[in-house]
């Protein structure tokens, strides 16, 4: 327990000092929120909609922080520590792989939640955003999406043979997901064909869930995506811990 708290504190400080997770995970989503707020914020989402464009996009903006921390921050830190042989030093201490991965998981979770709180504050204070749906439902969906993205990030960190591959894999998954899932480019403005393609991305499903809960619109067939996300998360984390390498 002492190891967990001390390492967590240290790694959190290092992450803040490192700046990149802070910029891509926390500042960037705020910028997206501000731009969206200025450009289309108070307009209705579509002709005759009873919610604004901002309300419709809020879930998607919140997901940017999850992706930046889970698909960049988390796997790249682990790959970097392996590359620099920092994990090799931990190898000859009593620390367990699960603890090493768990600490990076929690550090990035904290960054992601910080990002969410800031985005919420920006949207509420400057653009009159109000969550019309259930906050608890939204929080549950948020954690579910986070779990699925982070477990993917952990698996990437474990299976990448070196930092170059880790970088490449993260970019290959992160950028298409960020653009086509509706996190930055609103799903609603995409052509029908692209929407269908985007539906395969797990994040698209996640964002639909976030949108639905934040708007309070009825969710259809919610059970199936939830079961799939949880099952995938369990498998990915299992693979991550099993294939974890110190060097």
């Amino acid at each position: 327990m002492r190891a967990l708290i001390t390492l967590l504190k240290t790694e959190l400080k290092l992450t803040v000092r490192g700046m990149d997770t802070l910029i891509f995970g926390v500042v960037f989503p705020c910028i997206v929120a501000i731009i969206l707020g200025i450009v289309v914020g108070s307009r209705p989402a579509f002709e005759g909609a009873d919610y604004t464009f901002m309300q419709q996009s809020f879930g998607a903006i919140a997901a940017i922080g999850i992706c930046a921390t889970g698909l960049m921050g988390l796997p790249l830190t682990v790959a970097d520590y392996r590359h620099k042989k920092i994990l090799k030093r931990f190898r000859v201490t009593p620390v367990s792989p699960a603890l090493m991965l768990g600490i990076q998981f929690i550090v990035n979770l904290i960054m992601s939640v910080a990002s969410f709180v800031l985005v919420l504050a920006v949207c509420m204070l400057f653009f009159g955003y109000r969550m019309t749906g259930s906050f608890v439902g939204f929080a549950m969906s948020y954690l579910l999406v986070l779990l699925s993205i982070y477990s993917m990030g952990l698996m990437l960190a474990s299976i990448s043979p070196n930092i170059k591959t880790a970088n490449l894999l993260c970019c290959l998954i992160y950028f298409p997901m960020l653009i086509f899932s509706g996190a930055t480019l609103p799903y609603e403005v995409m052509p029908k064909g692209l929407q269908r393609a985007a539906n395969i991305l797990p994040l698209t499903q996640g964002i639909k869930l976030l949108k639905g809960t934040s708007l309070g619109t009825p969710l259809e067939n919610i059970l199936m995506p939830v079961v799939i996300i949880v099952a995938l998360a369990i498998i990915s984390i299992g693979v991550a811990v099993k294939t974890f390498r110190w060097e």
Partner: protein
């Protein structure tokens, strides 16, 4: 005597290159054991196999009576390690790395006291990357001692240290030895080996060419200094004159 380390028939190759060839050795508890040899003789590979960091091709290792891979978590409560090269997280400070290392163990030493012993007390707030080579080296030895280990591995413990820092490190290791710590070290400095080691083992191309008490090995050679004897054992007495440089 109780054994701190037993190595039986350790072999490790990289492709066609044999790095360690049939290494057999035993280190008793409370002993200071030196593993010597030129660069590339297989010292670091041997240590990494002993610690379970590298997988040996064959052979058996007992570290404090345990298996370094299977009993890893238990074992490394009591075994400290300084690798030849150590890297640390970017932008981490001296105090932070000490505190983090300290937190990993159940019964560690007081790291603030260790910082004083190693003359790093003033540098607590500096980041590790701001330290000089010698300061970093002292830090890596210090971190190996944080667990308050029964057995410590020091791979080239004083490389890059100035004369005073070297002497300070020796004095502290002698103190630890008098308290019963077992020390396994590698070094290129024969004065250091003579000052610290009870027994030594000389490796050449992965094989043992001499092993025994320092005095015995000198007596068995035609020379009366360890440095000359070492070069004689490794078959390179001709290089004695050049090697005088390295002592400075």
């Amino acid at each position: 005597m109780e054994k701190a380390l037993v190595v039986i028939g350790l072999k490790k190759s990289y492709g066609d290159t044999v790095a360690v060839n049939n290494l057999n050795l035993e280190v008793c508890k409370g002993e200071v054991f030196g593993l010597l040899g030129h660069n590339g003789a297989g010292k670091s590979t041997s240590i990494e196999c002993i610690l379970g960091v590298k997988k040996p091709d064959s052979g058996e290792i007992q570290l404090l009576g345990k298996n370094p891979v299977k009993d890893r978590k238990q074992l490394f409560e009591k075994v400290g390690v300084q690798f030849q090269q150590s890297n640390y997280q970017d932008r981490i400070t001296v105090a932070e790395i000490c505190e983090a290392t300290h937190s990993l163990y159940k019964a560690p030493s007081d790291w603030k006291k260790l910082l004083q012993v190693f003359g790093l007390g003033e540098l607590k707030r500096k980041t590790v990357s701001e330290l000089s080579g010698g300061e970093r080296q002292r830090l890596s030895v210090l971190l190996a001692l944080v667990p308050n280990p029964e057995l410590v591995f020091l791979d080239e413990l004083t490389t890059g240290l100035d004369t005073k820092a070297r002497r300070d490190a020796w004095r502290y290791l002698e103190l630890l030895k008098s308290q019963g710590m077992t020390i396994f070290l590698t070094s290129h400095y024969m004065d250091e080996v003579e000052a610290l080691c009870d027994r030594i083992c000389i490796l050449k191309k992965g094989s043992i060419i001499a092993m025994g008490k320092v005095r015995e090995l000198i007596d068995k050679s035609p020379y009366d200094s360890l440095e000359d004897a070492y070069l004689w054992y490794t078959g390179e007495e001709g290089a004695v004159n050049e090697s005088a440089y390295h002592l400075a």
